[in-house]
């Protein structure tokens, strides 16, 4: 059975997971283990007037109670946002100071004012309750629009009016002109609901300081351990990079929320030095709701103009993005370069303008969550398209087709240059698989049962493979977004791949091994993947933005190119042939057209014995490479959702969900399907179930699974997933990325289906039974 590109290879990592032998951060326990518990603000906004630690310190088993003045006094730096966005007036963004432990003020419920280090986790938590923080409560604001209003409480001194930046992209005058001349203008106000990522593994950190070596080790739940080490070292000054080892072992899902370096990891490292103990902290679920970066939370108004033939002439968007109380690591990029640059969708639109105001509120910081900006863009465009079609009396798929980009490369007016795609093919495939032709009959049949049946489309495009380093550098990114890989061929021919990508559910141990086994014609069992440890892998930018295939695997391919070049030289020398005649197949390195051959393992052995190498060749067989992508990649597709609504209750059932995706080359279809399924489930969650709710005083209402509705098995259907692919021309494997598409493409399909069923277009996410029922009542 083939294990190469396109094969449904069973996941190599699964045996340890299905037997309970996965090793996650909370499963790590060090000698001399102490535990941290944070003293968190119950107020959304307050001055810290004093901290009385005496009662906690007097408790037996409490090792120390540490506060923000001690932390900053030891030179631990503020948490930063790593992407500089410039406002349209040329001014820099207003980044407020964020200390891992607050010193003067707390700015959201959950903001940490102190940390207790104790002998057990239970004791640390009890002692944290005994730390008395004297707060002077200040007025708070949780809604972004209200935070911008005159007289709103100001959260950071250097951000007047709570404005972080006021940014724009595109040509406003030309877009206004196009809208004023349009035959039809569709106008909508669209909210993208705030979500909590909720990986099922809560965040955790185990920090150990070795005083003799002045060296730190951090086990942590990270999607990018090298980025964590870089930031902890260069910006937070916890330790120099060569004195800090970061290990992200098995990580139980991330979805973006484990990209960032949070106050807790910084504090645990520093506290391990202060107390000379290994310090462990594991979030409980309530703590996750009030500390893990939230996602989305946009309020937008949009106008889309059409000519008489239904061609889009202009698209204008005004967005307010809620950033929460502090600027998280990549927060600034999400509603700008990951959002507004995708507002052309799959369509040829000549005039686009988008204005974005980023706003502080007294809520948990907001950053990238699965899709990061692209779901917000897709939701806006695809709700507008469906609504416009209804208003103009056109078939929604035909209106889309009237505007599809069909020639590539295609330069949009908002930076992105699409390199490949066939949007008609995806729409055709999805329509056929969803049996759109049979929908009227199904709708009629449902009506006989008293149910309202609706069908909704979404034609999404997104940008992955983040990203060409020079390009993102010119746009304000503080880092390059390449990836690195090392291929180590052992003397017996087995191979270790060291990658800077990090697998936390994506199946890299399988897919990465597939491309190596195929390239060198060796059994997949002879390939292992090493990742997640800064002492083993030299560097890496990690896994997010669906970049591990297009960028991470490309780095592996580049390193394999170098290995192959050396293998050819060795084999040509030993077999006395020309390098050009060497082929690698069937587990052997052969001279083409002859019976002269060496086993793959013999080449490895030759490289390490070095008894008979070409003159001047170094021994060994190990190569590394850094790959910097030439462009973003552009996964795209068409999703069709079909629902049935019970008009008596508003209860909505998804009866059919069909996807046609274009991910370019697919290495393992079984794994790709899983990625799409999970993305769609999160998208359905956003569309129908999930919503982070704050009251006006900044108290979190949805702080547990009793309040925040997670999608469960009984809420979701089977998904019908198909592929119609074009090859990405900008990376060696032709890959585009599949990790986020489902979460990007599905929410508008769901809402378009429900609004089709109930005949009302005023329905916000999440479309709970109450929301659907209310919209239905209002429409009748």
């Amino acid at each position: 059975m083939s294990t190469g590109i396109g094969a449904r290879v069973k996941r190599k990592e699964d045996k340890r997971f299905i037997t309970g032998k996965g090793k996650y951060t909370d499963d790590v326990r060090s000698e001399n283990q102490a535990y941290a518990a944070f003293v968190r603000s119950p107020h959304a906004h307050a001055k810290i007037k004093g901290i009385d630690k005496s009662a906690a310190l007097a408790m037996e088993g409490v090792i120390d109670v540490l506060d923000g003045h001690q932390l900053t006094g030891d030179g631990i730096g503020n948490i930063i946002c790593g992407w500089a966005i410039t406002s349209k007036d040329g001014s820099a963004m207003n980044m407020g100071a964020w200390s891992a432990l607050a010193t003067e003020k707390v700015r959201y419920v959950g903001d940490a004012a102190a940390v207790v280090i104790a002998e057990t986790q239970a004791l640390a938590r009890i002692a944290a309750e005994a730390v008395e923080v004297d707060y002077e409560v200040l007025p708070a604001v949780s809604n972004a629009k209200k935070a911008l209003a005159d007289g709103a409480p100001e959260i950071h001194d250097n951000a007047p009016g709570n404005l972080i930046y006021d940014w724009e992209i595109g040509e406003e005058a030309a877009t206004d002109a196009a809208l004023s001349e349009a035959a039809h203008v569709t106008e909508m106000e669209i909210t993208n609901n705030r979500l909590s990522p909720n990986p099922m593994e809560p965040r955790s950190a185990v920090a150990t300081y070795d005083a003799a070596e002045e060296h730190y080790t951090l086990y942590t739940t990270s999607q990018n351990p090298h980025v964590a080490r870089l930031v902890l070292s260069a910006f937070y000054q916890v330790a120099p990079e060569h004195k800090l080892r970061v290990i992200a072992p098995d990580v139980g899902g991330g979805f973006g929320s484990k990209i960032y370096i949070y106050p807790e990891e910084i504090t645990c490292l520093w506290a391990s030095m202060k107390t000379n103990r290994s310090v462990k902290w594991t979030s409980d679920r309530s703590e996750a709701f009030i500390t893990d970066a939230h996602g989305r939370d946009h309020i937008s108004t949009a106008k889309m103009g059409f000519d008489a033939d239904g061609r889009i002439t202009g698209f204008k968007v005004d967005t307010i993005a809620n950033f929460g109380a502090y600027m998280s690591l990549f927060s600034s990029a999400v509603p700008t370069y990951l959002y507004a640059t995708l507002l052309s969708g799959q369509y040829d639109i000549q005039n686009i303008h988008c204005n974005v105001r980023a706003v502080y509120t007294n809520t948990v910081p907001v950053d990238a969550y699965r899709g990061a900006g692209r779901p917000e863009a897709c939701y806006l465009i695809e709700r507008m398209m469906e609504t416009a079609a209804r208003e103009m009396g056109k078939d929604p798929s035909e209106l889309r087709r009237a505007n599809f980009v069909r020639e590539f490369p295609h330069q949009t007016p908002v930076i992105m240059a699409y390199d490949a795609g066939d949007f008609d093919a995806n729409l055709d495939q999805a329509r056929e698989a969803a049996d759109v032709a049979g929908f009227p009959a199904r709708k009629e049949e449902a009506a006989k049962r008293g149910k309202l049946r609706g069908l909704g489309y979404s034609s999404y495009i997104e940008a992955c493979g983040i990203a060409p380093s020079a390009a993102v550098g010119s746009l304000g990114a503080g880092v390059g977004l390449w990836e690195s890989a090392e291929v180590r061929v052992n003397p017996v021919g087995t191979i270790e791949i060291l990658t800077g990508s990090h697998s936390h559910g994506q199946g890299h141990e399988t897919t990465f091994a597939q491309i190596v086994a195929e390239r060198f014609s060796i059994p997949i069992e002879n390939v292992s993947i090493v990742h997640g440890d800064t002492d083993k892998v030299q560097f890496g930018m990690g896994t997010y933005g669906s970049r591990s295939g297009a960028v991470g695997m490309s780095a592996i391919v580049k390193a394999m190119d170098k290995v192959e070049a050396k293998v050819r030289k060795i084999a040509a020398h030993v077999l006395e042939a020309s390098e050009d005649d060497i082929v690698i197949e069937g587990g052997e390195v052969k001279v083409k057209g002859t019976d002269k051959a060496m086993g793959w393992h013999e080449v490895g052995l030759s490289a390490y014995t070095a008894h008979n190498l070409p003159p001047d060749m170094e021994p060994g067989l190990k190569e590394s490479a850094f790959y910097d992508p030439a462009n973003f990649t552009f996964p795209a597709g068409a999703y069709i959702c079909e629902v049935e609504v019970d008009p008596e209750t508003g209860v909505t059932e998804i009866v059919r969900f069909t996807a046609s995706d274009d991910f370019g080359t697919i290495i393992n279809p079984m794994i790709v399907e899983g990625q799409v399924h999970g993305g769609i489930a999160q998208g359905i969650g956003q569309a129908m179930l999930e919503q982070v709710v704050y009251d006006d005083d900044g108290q979190l209402i949805t702080g547990s699974y009793m309040d925040y509705t997670m999608p469960r098995a009984a809420d979701l259907p089977f998904y019908d997933v198909h592929h119609a692919s074009t090859i990405c021309p900008n990376n060696p494997l032709g890959m585009k990325g599949c990790g986020e598409a489902g979460a990007i493409g599905s929410p508008p399909a769901v809402i378009n289906a429900i609004t089709d069923a109930i005949g009302s277009n005023t329905l916000a996410m999440p479309a709970t039974p109450h929301a659907v029922w209310s919209a239905l009542q209002a429409a009748q």
């Binding site: 309970g20 139980g252 994506q506 199946g507 399907e673």
Partner: protein, 159 residues
């Protein structure tokens, strides 16, 4: 406070541990018995990541006190494969790639096994409702349900 001495059976083996009165069965399994397969996903019985069986009954071990295990029989993920042979559910989870990050998987396997012991031929709806107590954020449940269906079919044939 004095600790409680507990003698219990875990995966068929007699074990004993000393626990504090407030410690959960999940804490005891993880911290005293080094059985870290069961995970804490919420601590409130809403996610099922800590699922084990106690005297054959499916429970969230985060909601059971360690002291309650006295004299009981506990089964965890670590005991699911017998003599190195994977349970049909475990094999089918690999065949269908019914897991991604793996953190919820032990709980889901324990819950699914419990379902099939009670009902060897569940409908899709029955499976979805039984497993509704187990949150998975990665898979969207599609491949999980298919793997459980497939395992159920195989187990029915074998019996």
């Amino acid at each position: 406070m004095s600790k409680i001495h507990v003698t219990t059976k875990v995966n068929g083996d007699e074990v004993e541990y000393l626990c504090e009165p407030r410690e959960t069965l999940l804490d005891c399994l993880r911290d005293h018995l080094d059985l870290t397969g069961a995970k804490e996903g919420c601590g409130t019985g809403d996610c099922g990541a800590c699922s084990v069986t106690m005297d054959g009954r499916l429970v969230c071990s985060c909601l059971v006190l360690g002291a309650e295990a006295q004299g009981k029989e506990i089964a965890t993920i670590e005991g699911m494969a017998e003599d190195g042979a994977l349970h049909p559910l475990q094999r089918k989870f690999i065949e269908h790639a019914a897991l991604q990050c793996g953190i919820c998987t032990p709980g889901i396997l324990v819950a699914a096994k419990s379902l099939l012991e009670k009902n060897p031929d569940p409908t899709e709806t029955e499976m979805r409702y039984w497993l509704a107590g187990n949150l998975c954020r990665c898979t969207g449940y599609d491949k999980i349900i298919r793997a459980v269906m497939d395992a159920a079919a195989e187990m029915r044939e074998a019996s």
